[in-house]
């Protein structure tokens, strides 16, 4: 009896069983929870819940979590990535806007008026010409001059 028991303990089957029920579910689950974005409470929740699951049921339970993580975790991670990308764009937009605003403040009055009316108020060239007592063609030329002035001012600040 004792010999049989010792044989069973040292046999490969016993070690495979210990490995399959003890080590594999926990390790797989730790990999699975990585599908959730950093800071998602589900990461810690699932690892803590594994301790409540009976050992024989753990491989099946972990397989179910793979299903959840594929749909819920990957979707959450994608949503977080989209928001981060959006925030990066907004911050770079804000930085560009500050640069343009400071450059415009250094320009002569006529250029500031052209910039404000065309880019902020949304006037087209014919209306811009009427406000500035110019023809539409002259307003277009003035707009080009203003844009060049802004570009030169920004270049001088960035370099």
């Amino acid at each position: 009896m004792i010999t049989e028991l010792l044989n069973a303990v040292v046999s490969w089957n016993a070690w495979i069983l210990v490995f399959a029920l003890g080590f594999v579910p926990g390790s797989c689950l730790r990999l699975i929870v990585k599908m959730y974005p950093v800071g998602d409470p589900r990461r810690d929740e699932l690892i803590a819940e594994l301790y409540s699951v009976p050992p024989l049921r753990r491989p099946f339970w972990v397989a179910e979590q793979l299903e959840v993580a594929l749909f819920e975790g990957v979707a959450n991670r994608r949503a977080v990535a989209i928001i981060r990308r959006h925030m990066r764009r907004r911050s770079s937009y804000a930085a560009s806007w500050i640069l343009v605003r400071d450059a415009v403040n250094q320009l002569p009055d006529i250029d500031r008026v052209v910039f404000t009316l065309y880019y902020l108020e949304g006037l087209d060239f014919s209306k811009l010409g009427k406000v500035l007592s110019m023809t539409e063609v002259e307003a277009r030329r003035q707009h080009l001059r203003t844009v060049r002035q802004i570009r030169n001012e920004i270049r001088s600040r960035v370099q």
Binding site: P41, D44, I47, A48, Y51, S52, W61, E64, V68
Partner: protein, 91 residues
């Protein structure tokens, strides 16, 4: 149903899955939606109260809003012919 049977207790993910008979693959997304609706509140176990060596678990509690909402869902289900064959455990 589990939340309505025991509305004052804290419930854990695996325990909810076992008692309700809902697979955890379905249960966790449902819990997330109920949290977003304000039907449930969640929190973490106090680590000092844990006897075994394990990390603190996340618990779920039903809110007053959730009690009303789930009660209404249950009443509707009772009157729905599709669920007539179900045995209702709640009074």
């Amino acid at each position: 149903m589990v939340f309505l049977e025991d509305p004052t207790s804290r419930h854990w993910g695996y325990e909810l899955s076992r008692r309700s008979g809902v697979r955890s693959g379905v249960l966790y997304p449902m819990l997330t939606r109920m949290l977003e609706e304000g039907w449930l509140a969640d929190g973490w176990e106090d680590p000092t109260t844990i006897e075994r060596k394990r990390p603190p678990r996340r618990y779920y509690e039903i809110t007053d809003e959730g009690l009303q909402a789930l009660g209404a869902v249950l009443r509707d289900a009772r009157n729905d012919a599709r669920f007539a064959g179900l045995h209702w455990r709640l009074a």
